[in-house]
Symmetry: C2
Subunit: 251 residues, 2 copies
């Protein structure tokens, strides 16, 4: 739980509007749209190798998303909830009609120049990225169900970041343009998912203590996203020392 929230547990319950404002303020402060690695990406300052390192490492996150959502599915006893939430598993794993987000991410990685098999073996992924992503699975398994749902609310902030990213990628890395289908799909998937999860949190966080837990879970998720970019920046930008065994930029 966030340190700031201790002592607030006796405070009055927030209105739906106030709770939403608090959740949005977590994003403004902690979401990874402000991370220096993203700033470099959007200013066209990343090399092809650095984009490879990013695509390769972020694949581990992408590959765990439907597992994370399956854990949440497995914890719900409500058929309506499960029916709504399972869309996320389909979005990432695909179905007979269309490929899923994982396949689209692999294509992005391929366009950067990392081959498919290497991506899928998760070879050379930074241990720190793995620990952060695994902490996300741990959160959805071991915290309350409300917190597991609330941790997905980073999707409230995804649309703006993705549309900026797509513009800047087309501008600065035109050779990447064929790899952007993942983001195109997320432009509408993320806001749909966020609306459902926000509604759920507002309805089910009835006490102030529960509201603070939900806010803390969103903050924890922001930390998990941020830590992945810290690790990538540390290894591939500055000081530029990948740990033993990790992917290395071609010199």
């Amino acid at each position: 739980m966030a340190t700031e929230s201790v002592g607030m547990l006796d405070s009055p319950v927030l209105s739906a509007k106030q709770l939403e404002a608090r959740l949005r303020s977590v994003g403004a402060e902690r979401y990874h749209h402000q991370h220096p690695f993203h700033t470099m990406m959007h200013e066209g300052k990343l090399s092809r190798g650095q984009l490879q390192a990013w695509a390769l490492n972020r694949y581990y996150y992408q590959s765990r998303i439907p597992i994370k959502d399956a854990i949440i599915l497995s914890r719900s006893e409500d058929s309506d909830f499960r029916r709504a939430w399972r869309k996320r598993v389909v979005d990432h794993d695909g179905d007979a009609m269309q490929e899923g987000g994982i396949e689209r991410w692999i294509r992005l990685a391929e366009v950067t120049g990392v081959d498919r098999e290497r991506v899928m073996r998760c070879e050379g992924i930074l241990p720190a990225v793995r620990y952060a992503v695994d902490a996300y699975l741990d959160l959805v398994k071991n915290r309350s169900f409300l917190e597991a749902v609330a941790s997905s609310l980073t999707e409230l902030f995804a649309r703006d970041l993705i549309s900026l990213r797509m513009d800047r990628m087309r501008e600065h890395y035109p050779w990447l343009s064929d790899g952007l289908d993942y983001f195109t799909a997320r432009l509408h998937q993320a806001p749909e998912d966020a609306r459902f999860a926000l509604q759920y949190v507002i309805e089910h966080a009835k006490s102030r203590a529960e509201q603070e837990l939900a806010i803390g879970a969103l903050q924890a998720k922001c930390d998990i996203l941020w830590a992945q970019l810290d690790a990538i920046y540390f290894s591939y930008v500055q000081p530029g020392w990948p740990p033993p065994g990790a992917f290395r930029l071609e010199s």
Copy 2:
């Protein structure tokens, strides 16, 4: 499992000497004695603030050690093993006769200038340090018992690092000299513990596959130690950006 080890599973069983040599070579390559943060420490290049950040963050690791050992205790059905292993919990938690390693680490942190309550609240710990340490708990909970024991074998390499560190700390940071009791105790505790665990691994890793799992577990543990220092270096040395909410150096 380490990528290198795939394909070796049909290879002949290593002799006790060969297995020990392989384990020691993991340390030579991956143990954190070579991490640039330690190099700076030993060359006297860290500021007091950077040593505070290190002591504060490493406290989270120290605080989880007896929990990690209790998990291993809880997984053993052998009274002799448990009797031998519980020494580790006593070493870190202390008893009526003497304080334990956690208390000694808090004193080290206090000597750097962070107050005891702040240390114990784990306030401002880097999320990436937390994820790495929690990955260690996950390893001892979820991998085989042999791998849980083998992951402790970083203690084979601890004595040399600790004696170098104590010399260099007295030389470069004489104001820290009153805080070194933790290391004094570890100088004899770590080698005792390592001897027992090495013997256990040699006796119980009977097939080549098991031997490779043990080697992989030691490698995984080295990665966990290394990732903690990467996170500290990233936030407090270069580029020097602690994530939102983390401890900040006084300017």
